[in-house]
Symmetry: C2
Subunit: 278 residues, 2 copies
């Protein structure tokens, strides 16, 4: 994942404890012959904020610091990157310790935990109710997209998914501006990949307003919520959409393009923003 932009803005002190994404294993092919192959890593990573346990994520482990930051940002548990003093990953403890500068932990933590809705089924663990409360405060800009940009992006992301090509079992997400891929992240969960991108945007003060978010995964309600919180008005997926994902996208004014492969795509929401001749 390249750093999209150099910045002199405040940054927390951070470890750099990314793990190699794949492991070599011996397996058998369909003839019973020995096959040296690679598989994706998967590790538990427990996030602590000022010593308090928040969540355990299962992750590929390549960008644990930005993943933890993006999780806290996307769940609206910490409002401002400048509140964070340090991000300290320790794999021998399977933990990432985040210290705030005020040292008081997450504001209204007890209340947030009590109203936490633990979800499953769509590749995500937890939606804190504060996410839903704040969702409809989001105001996304209107963005037009040329068809040629969609085609260009679909082609460009095909060259990026290195871990998937080597080992499978991961999803990829990309932050794009026009046809340019600024960040591409793969993880065992598409939500982790989205959170990692969000963390990097937080660190580098990257606005979502002029961006397109691409994912290989499905557009369920939870991924649409994240993209809205990241301020990104256009969502592009190789996979399909669910009904709740679509209803949220329509309510929030997100342009939602899915089933994008080769020269085909379907615009489920925001069709008026697509320039089919462009």
């Amino acid at each position: 994942m390249p750093t999209a932009r150099k910045t002199t803005a405040y940054r927390p002190s951070m470890t750099s404890a990314g793990l190699p994404p794949t492991h070599s294993v011996d397996a058998l092919d369909q003839e019973g012959g020995l096959l040296h192959t690679r598989i994706a890593g998967e590790y538990p990573l427990t996030i602590y904020v000022d010593g308090r346990e928040v969540v355990t994520l299962m992750t590929l482990g390549t960008y644990p610091e930005t993943l933890a930051l993006g999780f806290l940002r996307n769940q609206r548990l910490i409002q401002d990157i400048e509140e964070i003093a340090s991000v300290d990953v320790n794999w021998s403890e399977e933990s990432v310790h985040i210290a705030t500068r005020h040292g008081k932990g997450i504001a209204d933590w007890e209340e947030k935990m009590a109203h936490r809705s633990v979800t499953s089924g769509c590749g995500q663990g937890t939606v804190f109710s504060c996410v839903l409360d704040k969702l409809y405060e989001v105001r996304l800009p209107r963005a037009t997209v040329d068809r040629s940009t969609i085609y260009g992006l679909v082609k460009a992301v095909a060259g990026e998914n290195e871990i998937y090509k080597a080992a499978g079992a991961v999803h990829g997400c990309a932050l794009c501006r026009g046809e340019e891929i600024l960040l591409f992240v793969e993880d065992v969960g598409r939500h982790n990949a989205a959170d990692t991108i969000s963390g990097r945007m937080w660190l580098d003060r990257i606005s979502g307003n002029d961006k397109i978010f691409y994912t290989t995964g499905r557009l369920t309600s939870e991924i649409v919520m994240k993209i809205a919180h990241m301020g990104i008005p256009v969502l592009l997926s190789r996979s399909g959409v669910t009904h709740m994902g679509l209803e949220l996208a329509r309510d929030l004014g997100i342009t939602m393009i899915a089933r994008a492969k080769g020269k085909q795509f379907i615009v489920y929401s925001g069709g008026e923003n697509i320039d089919f001749g462009g």
Copy 2:
């Protein structure tokens, strides 16, 4: 989902509140032309046991009663189907109320909640620590599998994924005996599909010991844990495996076959149980 076996054993009283799996929507194709298409449903379903909230799942909603039962079984929150008096789904409240016969709720609930590890990233929400505690009590039988059976199953499941073919955005799981598909369930999360199969096995007293579990999804640690709890010794996937999923499968003696498409597959664990000439 056909009922695999008629049984006269005790059954809780249950609603039958399955929803249609897909919705008709109007979208635009890549030429800007109107496209009438279908998308998968997605609904929150909050599980209550004797009035206490346990979890909210995001689901397609086709088998809410068996999903709720299978979740409680796979998370080891209730030990015996005979403890359950009724399963009452109410979509207007997005809830399923489960009443136990003893009316005392989940045993040691406070302790289980305190040690809950909320996970994300692999399509699942919650692993209660009791799942991990009991995992290594599992004793799976040794099962041999003929290559022709693997080929037969891969072919057979291709005819079953009706919702995926109509709307995408779902994963499918199947309970199989030899080349016969006993149950096939699709859901917006592969964990929900696995839990629904587990719920049906519980209701119908179906043993996992002589079965094969098929999934279109990835074999992460959490899905391997569920299959072990369901007593199924052979796991077959169209997708790949993660390192932690593979380590668990090897520890538990599960035969793990993945990347199975057409005439290709890879045996990651339990190669000695495959008859490549069979």
